[in-house]
Structure formats: structure tokens, C-alpha cells
């Protein structure tokens, strides 16, 4: 288990290096939000999800919806590293005419399960998938990664109430709780706390974990469905810009683009050069 966790951590470091590079090359924003969810995605894609890059449309596959679509590059990099498409295709990101836009588009590449970008849609889309799976007697699970800022959207809570009423225990929401939204501290802009208790109060089986602790991520994600008969909310405490000291918890990196020197510095910190 330990070596496995170590492997996952290595993959996450490589992903982070690539993501900093992509942000620099493509002059693409949201790097802070991208880096905060890398460990969640790594744990899911390498440790948990029942998926096959050779058969990406398998009707029985687990579904992962990146509801916080502004972290698109993290999903793209994960899909490339995981073998869904080539690195050459990944490098076409954001170029004119490329299929990989700054927010994910359904069917633009294998492994992209939904179009996201406007916040508050992914949980509801996931619910539809969960109900479809239930009536089709399929056993797949649906994971939707939401930002903490995304929890401002009313539709998230519409979905939260219906999912628990319907006991959709194959549906999982992971909140990438990096404590920032675009222009401020997420718990100051809106009264987000107590976030875990909110989900609990909405009828969800709620967990609070360190969203950068690979072992903790694997443990909780390995337990879906958790036997409670309820949908699961995983509040993953994360750090915006995680992995690069000069980006961590600095909200300027919601929009800032790293320079060439900063890319080198970041990669050094990540142990990649």
C-alpha cells in the first residue's frame, strides 16, 4: 500500500509540473484551482475509477465529472497521463482549432463526460447519470468534483436535496475546498461553513479529509458506496496552488500566468529537475 501511495504521489508531482508548464505555454489562467485538485484526480484515476482508456465509452464505467470546469487542464493532463489520448493531443491545448478548450467540452476527447465551465451543473448531471444507472441495473459510480466557490450556486443545493431523497448512494461529490474563490476567501464571500455539516444536514454521508493526503483520499474513495444508503460528500481540504511554494494559498494565481523562470523554479520544487 505504501509503495502504491508513493507512486501516486510521484504521478501527482509529474502532473503538477506539466500543468505549470501548460499554463505558461498556453497563457492559461486558473493555475491555483488546477493545482488544488491534482491529488484528488490522481487518487481517483489511478486508484479508484473503474475505467479503461481503450474502452472509454463502456456503459458500465465509473463517471468522473469535473464540475469546476475551470480546472480543465488538470483533467486533460490526467487523461493524457492515464492513456486516454496522446501527449501531442494534450499539447494542442487552447490552440486555435484544438479540441481542448479552456473548459471541457463533451466528446471533445475520450474520457470527458460532460461540458462544464458554468458552475453548479456537474452535480445535477451526475444525478441524472446515477438514476439512469439505477434503472438500467448498472453498478457504476459517479464522482463530481466541485469547487468551494461553486457551492455558492443554488442549483448545487437543489441537487443535494433531491439526491438524498432518492438515496443515490452511487453518487459522490468531492468539494475541492481550497478556501478561495475568484475574488475572495470563500468563507467570507458567503457563509460556507460549516460545509461538511451542511451536506450532512442535506442528507448526505459527509466526510472531511486532507485533500492532499493520498492515503486518506484512496481510503475514502475506496469506500463508495459507503453502505449508508446515502450519497457521499467528501470535503477535501486543499490548498490553492498546492505543490509550488510561491503559489500556495496566494489567490493571485487564480489568474496569474507563470513566467519561464517560475516554471523552472516550480519544477525544481516538485523534484522534477
Amino acid at each position: 500500500m505504501d509503495t502504491n501511495i508513493q507512486e501516486l504521489e510521484n504521478i501527482a508531482a509529474q502532473l503538477r509540473g506539466k500543468l505549470v508548464e501548460i499554463s505558461h505555454t498556453a497563457k492559461s489562467a486558473h493555475l491555483g484551482s488546477v493545482l488544488s485538485c491534482v491529488d484528488i484526480l490522481t487518487a481517483a484515476y489511478w486508484g479508484i475509477l473503474n475505467i479503461d482508456p481503450q474502452n472509454p465509452d463502456d456503459p458500465d464505467r465509473d463517471r468522473m465529472i469535473l464540475s469546476k470546469g475551470h480546472a480543465a487542464t488538470s483533467l486533460y493532463a490526467v487523461l493524457a497521463f492515464r492513456g486516454f489520448f496522446s501527449f501531442e493531443f494534450l499539447d494542442s491545448y487552447a490552440k486555435p482549432g484544438s479540441k481542448l478548450a479552456e473548459h471541457p467540452i463533451l466528446h471533445s476527447a475520450p474520457g470527458i463526460e460532460a461540458t462544464t465551465g458554468s458552475l453548479g451543473h456537474g452535480i445535477s448531471i451526475g444525478m441524472g447519470m446515477a438514476i439512469a444507472g439505477h434503472i438500467q441495473s448498472r453498478n457504476y459510480r459517479i464522482f463530481s468534483i466541485l469547487g468551494d466557490g461553486e457551492c455558492n450556486e443554488g442549483s448545487v443545493w437543489e441537487a443535494a436535496m433531491l439526491a438524498s431523497a432518492q438515496q443515490l448512494d452511487h453518487l459522490v461529490v468531492i468539494v475541492d475546498y481550497n478556501k478561495w474563490q475568484a475574488t475572495g476567501r470563500s468563507n467570507e464571500v458567503m457563509a460556507l461553513e460549516p460545509l461538511s455539516k451542511k451536506w450532512e444536514a442535506f442528507g448526505w454521508s459527509s466526510y472531511e479529509i486532507d485533500g492532499h493526503d493520498m492515503g486518506a483520499l484512496v481510503r475514502v474513495l475506496n469506500n463508495v458506496p459507503d453502505g449508508s444508503g446515502r450519497p457521499m460528500a467528501i470535503i477535501a481540504h486543499t490548498v490553492k496552488g498546492k505543490g509550488v511554494s510561491f503559489m500556495e494559498d496566494d489567490n493571485n494565481w487564480h489568474y496569474r500566468i507563470p513566467t519561464e523562470e517560475e516554471v523552472v523554479k516550480a519544477k525544481k520544487e516538485l523534484g522534477l529537475v
Binding site: 458554468s118 445535477s124 448531471i125 444525478m127 441524472g128 438514476i131 442549483s155 441537487a159 436535496m161
Partner: protein, 309 residues
């Protein structure tokens, strides 16, 4: 119309296991037969329309054919962005059905009126918009909608509307149905005002004005072939709809017309004015307040004919 819809969707769902009915906390007893026949494929989503539309997209992504049903104003403009992105951008086969369109719920005040829904949805790529003119057209529209690859919006009245067709007419999305031929004037009616258009045409005929009546049930895609014929042939063409004269059928035809070479026919748009109503009153009262009556239509046609000649 809603009873015909409930009957037809029940029949279709018993034949097609992909059909899933989502309701926004209305139609309490209306869907009893559906629930009895397909209990695991009916879900009351509560008064949460945004979530309902996004959910429908998730279902469609997994091979189901969802139908999302509630009061028109709530299932269109309230959740417009979900329709735009989750249904239209992703281009998924979801059928949205609005009940109580236009001024059907006049007495409930403008919170329940929908005179802007067509305008708002019409600009979205990939969607088809159908306004059935009677119960026959409701059933046929629903059948046709399930054969589409993308989203369809069906805009219904409420209940007890007059039945226009004697039996099932030939129905194709994007093709108007000519109910009565004529020479001078053409009334292009859509949805709940089709019966009024027929009444107006009879009055015009009595006054010696030969009047063609078309049920132009599909607003998007527009039946451009029919419009070409109509605008070449008649002196006056009127669009008649229980929707704002801005952006609905009248707006669509006016936009189409502006791209055409000079046409013979002059366009008259009958619909609700660019105003809200602040009074109590039933549907007839509200229609009258907007000038939507058979007499109002005939008068406008006569005036337009005077100007034309």
C-alpha cells in the same frame, strides 16, 4: 392539452423503456397511469427546475430519453442556462414540455405568464420548438420529438382547448399544416391561438376576404418553403401567437423576411404587447387586454388590406 400529453407519454413509455418522466412538482394525479405503468421511470424533482434540466442531460448521456415537465415559465426562462449548456450545447435528446403557456394562467399574474419563452429559447442552437395547436398536434409532436437527436421544446396550453383536427393530420417537425386554402390573406397561427385564427378566418370569409389558415406549429426550424409560397401569394400574412410580438413566431418571420428579396405580402404580427399585465382577470380578459381577439385580428387584417391596395 395536458391530459392528451399525459395519455400519450404513458402510451409511449410503455413501449419505450428509455423514456423517463421528470416533473417539477405538478400534475399530482395527471400522471397516475404513467406511475402505475412505469413506476421506476417517474420522478417528481420538486420545485427545482435548474437541477431537473441538468439531471435530464445526465440521463440522456446514459441512453435514456427524458421528458421534463412543468409550468412553462418555470421550465424555460427560469432554467435557461441549463437548457443552453446541458441540453443545447451538449446537443442531447431531451424533451422539455411546458404546460400553461402564454396567458393560460392569466389569473395567476405575470409570474405565471410566459410570453417570452419562445424568444429566449429560439436563439439557442440545436433546439426544436413546437407549439401544438390542439390535442392531436400534442400527441403527434411528442411522437416526433422522440425521433429527434437533439433537444425539443413543446409549448402546450393548459386544458379543454378546442379540438381543431377531426383526426390525425400529417405532422412533421418544421412543416406547417394548411387547414384552409385562401387567396387574399394568410393566417399563420401557432399553438394555443390556432382556434382563434380559425374563428377570425371565418369572419373574414364572411366579409368576402378569402383567407388561408396554417397551423405553423414549429417555430424552429421555420418552414421556409411554406413562407416563400405564402409571402409570394397573399396580400397580407398575419402571425398569430400567444407570445410577445417580439422574438416569437412574428419575430422569427420578420427576421426571415428581412433576408428575402422584396415580397408581395405584408406582415402583420398578432401577439402580446411589450407590456406586463398588472390586473386580475382570466385568459380571455388578458388576451383582450393585449388586443388578441377574433374581432381584433379581423380588424387589423382589414386595415392592412386597405393600406396594401
Amino acid at each position: 392539452m395536458r391530459n392528451a400529453f399525459a395519455e400519450e407519454i404513458t402510451r409511449l413509455a410503455t413501449e419505450d423503456e428509455r423514456i423517463f418522466m421528470l416533473s417539477g412538482d405538478i400534475g399530482n394525479r395527471l400522471f397516475n397511469n404513467f406511475k402505475a405503468a412505469c413506476s421506476d421511470r417517474f420522478l417528481n424533482c420538486g420545485a427545482a427546475e435548474a437541477n431537473m434540466i441538468s439531471m435530464a442531460s445526465g440521463m440522456a448521456l446514459c441512453g435514456l430519453r427524458p421528458v421534463a415537465y412543468t409550468i412553462t415559465s418555470f421550465i424555460t426562462v427560469r432554467c435557461l442556462e441549463q437548457i443552453k449548456l446541458d441540453l443545447c450545447y451538449q446537443n442531447l435528446p431531451v424533451v422539455i414540455v411546458g404546460v400553461g403557456s402564454g396567458l393560460s394562467y392569466a389569473s395567476l399574474n405575470a409570474t405565471h405568464h410566459s410570453c417570452e419563452d419562445i424568444a429566449c429559447l429560439r436563439v439557442l442552437p440545436n433546439i426544436s420548438i413546437i407549439c401544438p395547436g390542439d390535442v392531436w398536434e400534442v400527441r403527434l409532436a411528442l411522437n416526433a420529438a422522440f425521433k429527434q437527436e437533439g433537444p425539443v421544446y413543446i409549448r402546450m396550453g393548459k386544458k379543454n382547448e378546442p379540438v381543431v383536427h377531426n383526426d390525425a393530420p400529417e405532422f412533421k417537425i418544421g412543416k406547417g399544416i394548411v387547414l384552409h386554402e385562401g387567396k387574399d390573406v394568410c393566417l399563420l397561427a401557432t399553438g394555443t391561438l390556432l382556434p382563434m385564427a380559425i374563428e377570425a378566418s371565418k369572419a373574414l370569409e364572411q366579409q368576402g376576404i378569402s383567407t388561408c389558415v396554417v397551423s405553423l406549429h414549429t417555430i424552429k426550424p421555420l418552414d421556409e418553403e411554406l413562407l416563400q409560397d405564402v409571402f409570394a401569394k397573399f396580400k397580407i400574412t398575419a402571425t398569430i401567437e400567444e407570445h410577445s410580438i417580439l422574438g416569437g413566431l412574428g419575430g422569427s418571420v420578420a427576421e426571415w423576411l428581412s433576408d428575402q428579396p422584396r415580397q408581395r405580402s405584408r406582415l402583420v404580427r398578432v401577439g402580446t404587447m411589450d407590456t406586463f399585465l398588472y390586473d386580475a382577470g382570466d385568459q380571455d380578459y388578458a388576451r383582450q387586454a393585449h388586443g388578441i381577439t377574433s374581432d381584433g385580428i379581423t380588424e387589423r387584417i382589414r386595415n392592412a388590406l386597405t393600406d396594401w391596395s
